[in-house]
């Protein structure tokens, strides 16, 4: 196992605040990560940066650091975990082949102690960055362990970033503030004694954050203690963050004092106390530029949503709505998780197309056109470069947009008589037409008989707010009532039988009571419910003279003679005839009949 069990893939700079010879250079190194797990390592590096740069005082010292990552692939994932260890613990026996050969129970005594080939780590880092100040190896294992020595090593157990900052505090000259050394209960409650401290190898409490106590004036951090704060200071007697003189520090429960009740040098994960913050800042002065160091400011996540109404959609039979596209803009990094909700309902995953269905009549009989759409984007803390602990402001963004669906407008409905319906041409044997003395009826043209009738169509034009066959042929109206009752109807179309006479009048369905001037026509109305139950009504007028007879009555384009009347049998009394009928010249010359521009060759019916 060792350097043959993997390869150095890349050396990347994560934070660049200037020349390496002027900054405090931190290098994060991977071990026990396969190539496929390197993205995980990168994400964990980001986690460390967040912890570092959002922990005071490092949060104000961002420009002090350059940070790098040495991405090293291992053949296998994890860490060696020997079956047995000097502390009596039992391991899994796993022995994955890793580049730096990290192992639990390093040295053989304590399982949580990790050892690795630190010389190889230093060599590989030095090849890229001779100016490395701190090297931190991250081992891909959830097993708990780590060691702070010349090369710091941590597994990725929860809280490793906090421990790393605690150890960094030591590098910068801070003492532990907890009151035991091995902390197994055997060394609790001890009273500080300088002679004992030297014998134990702890040294003297020279560090700026521990003190043998004494008067306020003699205290190392006495200038930071308010005159109202009691000395010594009893835990719980003052608000958190108060600088005082709290007993228990640097491996002795009694006789040694620390500045605040809580500090990262006593409990990992806690903030650094004011005294430690000041000391860290002072210790990093040589690497801290005083010129243009911009303290990072976390940018709260932002999101704007713009709801765009698209096409109509039938959500369920009889339940319609619109497809709405929720266009979004956010400053959140990576690939956020998107959810949305309508009208304060439950949050639902937002489709990748960003398109949702917004109903009009989610409840039967109740049409709602005004909605609110809320969209939320969330990323994990691991996606952020920086983060303010304890708030979701930087991981979650949300916005609302109002959606006003199109409401149908009955005033915009219409009934259109100018409809060239191919089914208009109708007739019966009693139909007749007067041609100024020539009479045609039942296929025959008669002189002095003055009427014929046909079937004319009207069509309902609905406002686009309604749902109907004009949107999709399958979306039939739920019901429709025409007034007067047509002789026939289908969908949006109604057919009325209209009788004309030569005196310039017409009427419906052979009902003389409806006689009108064809130029004035008949009032027609329709009412009902569209495909999703929206009530509609419309009024219009069937004006026969507006109907294009040439299309509606006959496929013969040039003459107003219904097709259904062909072939015709003419009873001719004279071989030559010339009359004007309604402004149209009708001429007969032997066997040629001309009606306007139409020229018809006649055959003698008696000859068969």
């Amino acid at each position: 196992m060792g350097a043959n069990d993997g390869a150095v893939l890349a050396f990347r700079q994560l934070i660049n605040n200037g020349a390496n010879n002027l900054r405090y250079n931190i290098v994060l190194v991977s071990d026990g990560y396969t190539a496929a797990e390197i993205p995980l390592f990168r994400s964990q590096c980001q986690g460390f940066l967040r912890k570092l740069f959002w922990t005071a005082p490092f949060s104000s010292l961002r420009c002090t650091f350059n940070v790098f990552a040495l991405e090293v692939r291992s053949t296998a994932s994890g860490i060696d975990d020997p079956l047995t260890c000097g502390d009596g613990s039992t391991g899994s026996g796993a022995m994955p082949a890793t580049f730096f050969d990290s192992t639990m129970c390093g040295g053989g005594s304590v399982r949580r102690v990790i050892s690795l080939d630190s010389g190889l780590v230093r060599n590989r880092v030095a090849g890229f960055l001779p100016q490395a100040n701190s090297i931190l190896v991250l081992v891909n294992s959830a097993l708990g362990g780590g060691t702070q020595s010349d090369v710091a090593v941590f597994t990725t157990e929860p809280g490793w970033e906090d421990t790393a900052l605690h150890e960094f505090g030591h590098v910068l000259g801070l003492a532990d503030e907890y009151g035991c050394y091995v902390c197994d209960g055997s060394d609790s409650g001890r009273t500080y004694d300088w002679f004992d401290s030297i014998i134990q190898g702890y040294g003297l409490p020279d560090q700026p954050n521990v003190s043998p106590g004494g008067s306020r004036a003699g205290l190392k951090w006495g200038a930071m203690v308010a005159s109202t704060t009691p000395i010594p200071t009893t835990a719980g007697s003052v608000p958190a963050g108060t600088v005082g003189m709290f007993e228990s520090a640097k491996y002795y429960d009694l006789g040694l004092f620390r500045p605040e009740e809580s500090c990262a040098m006593r409990n990992t994960g806690a903030p650094f106390c004011a005294v430690c913050r000041a000391e860290i800042t002072r210790a990093l002065v040589p690497w801290t530029p005083t010129t243009t160091c911009v303290t990072p400011t976390a940018t709260p996540a932002s999101l704007t949503v713009d709801a765009g109404i698209r096409s109509k959609v039938m959500i369920l039979p009889g339940r319609g709505g619109y497809e709405v596209t929720l266009d979004t803009t956010t400053n959140l990094p990576a690939a956020p998780t998107w959810t949305y909700r309508l009208n304060g309902g439950s949050w639902t995953a937002l489709p990748a197309t960003r398109t949702i269905q917004v109903p009009i009549n989610q409840s039967p009989g109740t049409n709602i056109y005004n909605h609110s759409a809320e969209v939320r984007a969330q990323v994990g803390v691991g996606d952020l470069d920086y983060w303010v602990p304890g708030t979701s402001t930087f991981t979650t963004a949300q916005d609302t947009d109002l959606i006003a669906l199109r409401q149908p407008n009955n005033a915009a409905n219409a009934i259109d008589p100018n409809y060239g319906d191919a089914g208009n041409v109708e007739g019966t044997g009693s139909a007749s037409i007067n041609f100024g003395g020539l009479v045609a009826g039942n296929g025959w043209l008669y002189v002095r008989s003055r009427k014929y009738y046909t079937r004319l169509a009207v069509r309902l034009q609905l406002d686009p707010g309604f749902f109907g066959p004009d949107d999709k042929p399958a979306w039939g109206l739920q019901n429709i009532t025409w007034t007067p009752t047509p002789s026939q109807s289908s969908g949006l179309t109604a057919f009325y039988d209209v009788t004309f006479d030569a005196s310039g009048l017409c009427w419906l369905d052979s009902n003389p009571a409806t006689v009108v001037d064809p130029n004035v026509g008949f009032p027609i109305s329709a009412a009902g419910k569209d495909a999703i139950g929206q009530s509609f009504s419309a009024t219009g007028r069937l004006v026969p003279t507006n109907v294009e007879y040439r299309r509606s009555i006959s496929t013969i384009e040039r003459a107003k003679i219904p097709k259904w009347e062909w072939p015709m049998l003419f009873d001719i009394r004279e071989k030559v005839l010339e009359v004007v009928f309604n402004g149209v010249l009708v001429m007969l010359n032997e066997n040629v009949l001309r009606i306007g521009e139409l020229e018809v060759e006649l055959k003698d019916a008696r000859k068969g």
């Binding site: 702070q148 150890e167 590098v171 003297l204 530029p289």
Partner: protein, 261 residues
């Protein structure tokens, strides 16, 4: 590595940067020696001296009274006058601080059983410096009474700078060390840089052999031939100590071709 080019200018200072003064301007602390030590039990050896242009933290205030820390190190001149002093945790201490997994007492010191290893110290390049000295506190073996005060104990002392004379070099048996910035793969030409250092401050030469080629001297290796390659490299110090070969394997991938317009 030739340390002469890292000689600080005449206006160097041992003092911490003055308030308001930019560290970038404090050139005395921008020229460092990284000293790498190995230890076995309590036997410490200085195995590498690397001259590096980087910031060195300032010295503690130098007083007659030694620091109270469990470990400290000094640069001293030929008269053993302290020129530079820093404290830190004792790198020889087998007790290491670990996360316990116990939320009540999350941290503790446990005996790792470690008896050997390596550690590094950073010191400034000072023209007068002749020795680096490591200290810890010590009590006489029979000291059980407080009337026998603890005293500083010199763990080890090593020559630096002008104290590394020909005799020192002749006695040297520790080989140099060469590191590289080789990666596993390159798109296009591979340019690999070698960096060599020795406990006497400089190496005689650095040699490399690429694949089955001839041995060459130098600190830069360039190859653009696509395929898998093997690079062997090592250095030799002025005493003739030869470093064991270092081996790296890497692949040069053919660079992507530009499409025709």
């Amino acid at each position: 590595m030739d340390m002469s080019r890292f000689e600080p200018p005449e206006d160097f200072s041992l003092e911490a940067p003055e308030p308001g003064r930019r560290p970038e301007e404090d050139v005395a602390y921008r020229h460092a020696l990284r000293l790498t030590f190995s230890y076995q039990r309590f036997q410490v050896e200085l195995i590498l001296i690397e001259a590096i242009e980087m910031i060195v933290p300032p010295s503690l205030e130098i007083t007659r009274q030694p620091p109270g820390a469990e470990f400290w190190y000094e640069l001293q001149d030929s008269k053993q006058t302290t020129l530079y002093r820093r404290v830190q945790r004792n790198p020889l201490d087998p007790f290491v601080e670990v996360l316990t997994g116990n939320p009540e007492r999350p941290l503790a010191h446990l005996n790792s059983g470690r008896t050997g290893g390596e550690f590094t110290l950073l010191v400034p390049i000072l023209p007068q410096a002749r020795y680096v000295v490591l200290y810890e506190w010590s009590l006489p073996p029979d000291a059980v009474q407080r009337d026998v005060p603890p005293s500083p104990k010199e763990i080890a002392r090593f020559p630096l700078g002008g104290a590394i004379d020909d005799e020192t070099i002749a006695r040297d048996t520790i080989p140099p060390r060469t590191v590289s910035d080789a990666l596993a793969a390159y798109d296009g030409a591979a340019v690999i840089h070698l960096r060599a250092s020795d406990n006497t401050g400089e190496v005689a030469n650095t040699v490399f052999r690429l694949d089955d080629g001839k041995e060459q001297q130098g600190l830069t290796v360039t190859i653009d031939e696509p395929g898998k390659h093997t690079l062997l490299f090592w250095s030799v110090d002025r005493a003739g100590n030869i470093e064991p070969e270092n081996l790296v394997k890497f692949t040069v991938r053919r660079p992507a071709r530009l499409g025709r317009k």
